[in-house]
Symmetry: C2
Amino acid sequence: MFSLQALQQRIGDAFSTTRFDREPFRLYEPIAYTLEMGGKRLRPVLVLMSCDLFGGNIEDAVYPAMGVEIFHNFTLLHDDIMDNALLRRGKDTVCRKWNNNTAILSGDTMFVIAYEYVAMTAPALLPQVLNLFNDTARMVCEGQQYDMDYEHRSGITIADYMLMIRLKTAVLIACSLKLGAMLAGADTEAAVKIYEFGIELGLAFQLRDDFLDAFGDTTKFGKAIGGDILTNKKTYLFLKAFELAKGETRSTLEDLFFSNEKNGNEKVEGILGIYRLLGIDEITRREIEIHHAKALEILSSFSFSDEQSGAVNGLMKEMLGREK
Amino acid sequence: MFSLQALQQRIGDAFSTTRFDREPFRLYEPIAYTLEMGGKRLRPVLVLMSCDLFGGNIEDAVYPAMGVEIFHNFTLLHDDIMDNALLRRGKDTVCRKWNNNTAILSGDTMFVIAYEYVAMTAPALLPQVLNLFNDTARMVCEGQQYDMDYEHRSGITIADYMLMIRLKTAVLIACSLKLGAMLAGADTEAAVKIYEFGIELGLAFQLRDDFLDAFGDTTKFGKAIGGDILTNKKTYLFLKAFELAKGETRSTLEDLFFSNEKNGNEKVEGILGIYRLLGIDEITRREIEIHHAKALEILSSFSFSDEQSGAVNGLMKEMLGREK
């Protein structure tokens, strides 16, 4: 069993030894810029780890794993246009450093490159691998659409929100794990189970991200606190607060949410105060724990060795334990 | 051998019996809107025709052919954003009817759907079909990038232009034909040759489009004359005129090209006058004829029956003979 560090190293090497810039440079430079930024490379590591867990050769999974990471980065390029985002991983977004048209077309090209890497799969496995990847890509697009729709829609429920993060975030985590299992030749039952594990892990991961946006330690979280609050994101925290707030608290919450006149700090502090008053931090922690526990339960149904479970737990800690 | 009309009918039926709208509607409505617009469906017809020519069953090619058409329409959605285009096939573009973000995300989703249709290929053929499709998609993106680059670059040559239209237009025509051949189980030599035929046909097709933009009959062409001139497109016609114009003609051409103060009609008429003076219409006709002849030469190297050649010639006339 490879250690988490060894898998991260393998993926890091795979990217650092690949040159993405070529002619026409205006097309490929933004791609190289994006892929050289790094990031945590969680998804490709999940592919390799899953392949390893199910007894496969991780070398067979390196290219498809890169495909998943390139796909993920393509979605970020296009999401950043739609969100008007200026910074990504502490650097200028492609749409800011170049322009929207560049981010559209370089993004499209990254999408093609993702498919090229996914296609570097044993021919016998390609039909099922391609179907998995297509299904996932479509769901990720649907998730982004729901995310945008929710901005302008009232009456969004927690169930709506959970559907959205399932599509936008969890299915790609789950796809990564299932892909690794497929490439290792795991049976269908195992592939389905590891996918479900990935869904629960992905939901916990996104809820954790929402939590840290409100209650994280700025230095460790790597971005400013309250970004979701300032941009009126209908996160789990906000929807739960909206569900629980009554009377004066409710009207203060609504005032703060709908008013963009107030200065940013006042809005963030005001809403955070209400979150604390209503115990949203504890409620969110509990919700994360529910999905974490479901994931662990699925994991325990496999007969993994201590070493194997240790590796998975290490990655789960990396994904869910950033606050500690 | 199926007639051109029968193939067009088959593709038309395939699209009209497929429902593309589903939830989330804001994502899928623009896709249904785009795919229900119709258009000439040249590319999927080329897939079926080629499959038929090489002795395949066209029913095996219907879904991959739809994939090519959906891919083509995806590129139009994104190109229309980059070009700020308002009209497409006489109707509002998606970026105008909805907005740019919708055109980005619905476009991305169409790209996934294209891959879903391409994936509906016999498993044994999937690796080579997917590679062809990936290579083509990447080249189309590169072609669009060169097209955008040329807007802001001086010193563009005819050779640059021919490279650009080869990537942006001809490779997808060629891919359609090669895909049909592959699906029919044609040998590699035949697949390579029909691809080369498609490249020449595609180059002639794009040059014809440029020609009609300047010298076409508005009622038959379906769009206003001089669109390329007004948007300062460095087409074959313009580059050839720039190459040949000397002295006063040259400075008038430059003045007209760089000035946006003049009213549109004056600019179009002025440049068309220079085109006529320099014989650009005849020169372009000759260039189209060169590629047309090359295509016919490749075609004659196959031992097609009269009926088969007749069907191909019918489609070539449809693609290249719109002025008559």
